[in-house]
Chain length 153, copies 2
DNA sequence: ATGCAAGCTCAAGTTCACTTGAGGTCAAGG
DNA sequence: CCTTGACCTCAAGTGAACTTGAGCTTGCAT
């Protein structure tokens, strides 16, 4: 195996667990940019294993492709990212998780109160219109927590 | 307004904030079952306001239509649900939220560790294969075994 | 009686994140 | 040289949860 050539898409898929079709899709979405061999086949750098692993982790945590792209955009271009580069992104992910936990904790506590009073689903209930969840407009699926608006029609 | 006749779809929409199209969709999905007027128009019972409010809350908390349907199936048929009936469902929702919070807290704490060590996205990182984010299908994670990146990059 | 908002049904469109399929190319072994 | 398997592109399909549109009917006010 010659590391100078880089990994084929199949090899990267095997190392990361990311399906080949997903790797191609993510390339089209701008999450990763392999170079090509003489015969037009994708060749991935060693550091791309880490990049793809990050994509998997981030999506498992609920980030959309656009959000992952935004995080990855913070990595340096031209040079292989260092541990410190990844650390910064890890911090951003943690903040996100903290926010999500808080957004779940509030209704949970509200629900505790509701269980006592039996008011669940009453229009006056604090749960009913906390202002941030619900309120989806536009086409397309609604996302768990966070509700990304599509765009006005 | 004659309460004997029930609410029209537009009235229910106005009271709950649920779009008319969504009410019709939810009926097709079996979440709600209004009766019909002589002229084939939907007529909703007063208690349906509560039911639709619940659907909104539950979906805001991340339940899918199928999951909402499952919760609603626990309500008594034939009789208008009491506060106690709704309370039982509230308890089930709370358990769900507790689980979700726990599922977010674990990776958050893991990430705290990763921020210290800079290992994020390393194949060996605890975050990478915590066992619950979907993992790939097929054989186990061979990337954990046997694939140590000799030097941090 | 007439007008028109509001209701009805059914089909098709929308977004996201991919997967699947068709049809063709490349690389390595025998 | 030939075959086989991995790779390529591009188009279309998937499923969730709705929305939008077309074409037609109801119901209430004037």
């Amino acid at each position: 195996m010659s590391p100078a050539q880089g990994l084929t898409i199949g090899e990267l898929s095997a190392r990361t667990g990311m399906p080949v079709s997903a790797l191609r899709f993510h390339e089209a979405e701008g999450l990763i940019a392999p170079h090509r061999s003489a015969g037009n086949q994708r060749r991935y750098a060693r550091a791309d294993v880490r990049r793809v692993s990050f994509i998997r982790i981030a999506q498992g945590l609920g980030l959309s492709v656009a959000e992952v792209r935004a995080e990855l955009a913070r990595l340096p271009q031209g040079r292989t990212p260092t541990a410190a580069d990844w650390r910064a992104i890890g911090g951003s992910l943690k903040e996100r998780l903290d926010r999500q936990i808080a957004e779940l904790t509030r209704p949970r506590d509200l629900l505790d109160g509701c269980i006592g009073c039996g008011c669940i689903s009453l229009e006056a209930c604090a749960l009913y219109n906390p202002g941030d969840f619900a309120a989806g407009k536009g086409a397309g699926p609604r996302f768990i927590l966070g509700d990304r608006p599509a765009h006005p029609t």
